[in-house]
Amino acid sequence: MNEEQKQAYLEDYKQEKEKGVKFYPDIIYKDLIVAFALFLLLVGLAIYVGVAAEPPADPSDSSYIPRPEWYFLFLFQLLKYFPGQIEWVGTVIIPTIAVLALLLLPFYDRSPFRHWKKRKVATAIMSIVVIGMVALTVLAAVSTPPQEEVAFATTITDKIVLGQDVYSIHCVECHGAEGEGGEIVGVEGLEGVFLKSISSQDEMYTRSDDTFFAIIDYGQPDLGMPPYGLGYGGELTRGEIDAIVNFMRYTWDDRVEIPEEAAQAGAIPELGPNEIPSYEVHIEPIVKRYCVSCHRPGKKNNNYLMRSFQETMETGDNAPNVIPGDLNSNNILMMNRQEIEAGGPMPPTRALKPELIVIFEKWVLGGAPETAEEAAALSPTEEPTAPITEETEVSP
């Protein structure tokens, strides 16, 4: 702009101002309305959408698909078009040009016009850039594969429950369901090794959470315990190890109290007097806690897997191990510590608590139903009959 144009602009602007309004209240009231609306929007988003929970950072878990904040996605996508040797075109040249072009805009755009009709080139370029950015963002969003859900817990209760599950799968075969230890039976490479308890007061009072975490993460290879952390070749994420530590601390340390909900979630459901147990309500928690650790793929178990109802009923070299109605089923005999053709007592190291064996026996006797509904249908019709007898007593 030359001097003349500048003067013309200032003169014109002065007139606009005179025709205009006062900042207070005319302008500021609009600003306040927008601010207020934004505030409501923010509170609404915070309440109804919230912040998605994420598992803790795990440098060893490189399967995680990196996702930048959404407003950087367009850059992320742009870089994909400059692979390998020319990557720096995308990372340096283009961003530098873009920033300089923006920064220096008032100095190279010398035209005095302000209305877009007289600035068609500038308007077109910026429009194309913005549309391009939006398009790249959308492309990036649709082309990033969804993250595989990993189990992680944020509240103490969830951690304890998750920790119990993970402990049951990975630790029980050697350390026992209650951390009691003893002689290891049926674990390749560790057969006959004698383990001390990890749930004793000694253990709980002298080991910090960090120590437990490190032991699970790194293992104690010299003593025979393999590493479990992803970073050391194991299969557990940091969140899962953290969950195990919480489970151990809250369940075995008598100085802390386990939250009521967690205790309930971890407890094996009790059985009513005439109730026939079902797999999903009663048997699954027992199996999960005491059996699956060995009865999953990759373990020495005569191919008997117990991760689901189906597997429990049908798999195994000596299948069927559960015969509905027959107390001579392999499972029941072995639980009762008998040595039979199919194998030795189960679980190998320590007998199940008698009340758990009773649940198992009632389940097999009752026909080994899978769901709670099936079990209810098989149960002796206690509910309809009981009230009727009462009524017959009262009415005459």
């Binding site: 500048k6 309004v21 923010l42 990372t91 302000r114 009709k117 913005v130």
Partner: protein
């Protein structure tokens, strides 16, 4: 009485002249697009206030950052609300600052005599993005960790000095406690100071030069 107090204060603080200069000034009649700048300012203030509250409980240490945020979400009264507002405020601020930039661009508001307003604005936009980038790492969760790993690795591709920049960003070869300390410090000190300084200049210029008028189509 009230008049007396105001007069007493005015004699010493010169409130009236501020009022006349800032609030009572004449400006052209403009449309709603002109509220985007003040909306950006409002969002920045919201981010500042919620951020200060978050800093009470947040611990910038890889061992504790994640659990400190969980504590904010589950343990601190209204912690979840403050964090939710800060989280969404960051997104909204980027959007609003960006659209505000577009508005001043499409209306040619960066031209004489508002060139410096524009230049400070561009730096503000970059600083706002910088806030987003540094803030993203702080929760120290998977998303944060891997996004920052990739983000800083990008800096490493710059020819010649790339490796050097990468080490400055990470404070070493890998993401570590040093990285978190740096990002935290940049997020709560360096960038906010820069932004407050630039907003001051930006606002001074807006008041001094007056808001531009809506461009007219002179052909009509």
């Amino acid at each position: 009485m009230a008049v007396k107090v105001v007069n007493w204060l005015d004699e010493r603080l010169g409130l009236l002249s501020i009022y006349n200069l800032v609030f009572d000034r004449k400006v052209p009649k403009v449309n709603w697009w002109f509220t985007l700048g003040s909306a950006s300012l409002f969002l920045f203030v919201v981010q500042g206030i919620t951020g200060v509250f978050l800093s009470v409980y947040y611990v910038p240490d890889p061992e504790k950052a994640y659990s400190s945020i969980q504590y904010i979400m589950n343990g601190v009264a209204f912690g979840w609300l403050i964090r939710g507002i800060h989280h969404w405020g960051a997104t909204l601020m980027v959007i609003f600052v960006f659209i505000h930039m577009l508005r001043t661009f499409f209306m040619g508001a960066y031209k004489y005599p508002r060139e410096i307003t524009w230049v400070t604005g561009v730096v503000l936009l970059l600083a706002t993005l910088g806030m987003g980038f540094t803030g993203y790492l702080l929760p120290w969760n998977q998303r944060a960790y891997w996004a920052t790993t990739v983000g800083t690795a990008i800096a490493g591709t710059v020819p010649v000095v790339g490796d050097f920049i990468l080490r400055i960003l990470r404070g070493g070869n890998d993401l570590s406690a040093v990285t978190l300390a740096r990002f935290f410090s940049v997020h709560i000190w360096f960038l906010p100071v820069v932004i407050v300084g630039l907003i001051s200049v930006h606002m001074y210029l807006v008041v001094r030069l007056g808001i531009s008028s809506e461009p007219k189509d002179e052909a009509e």
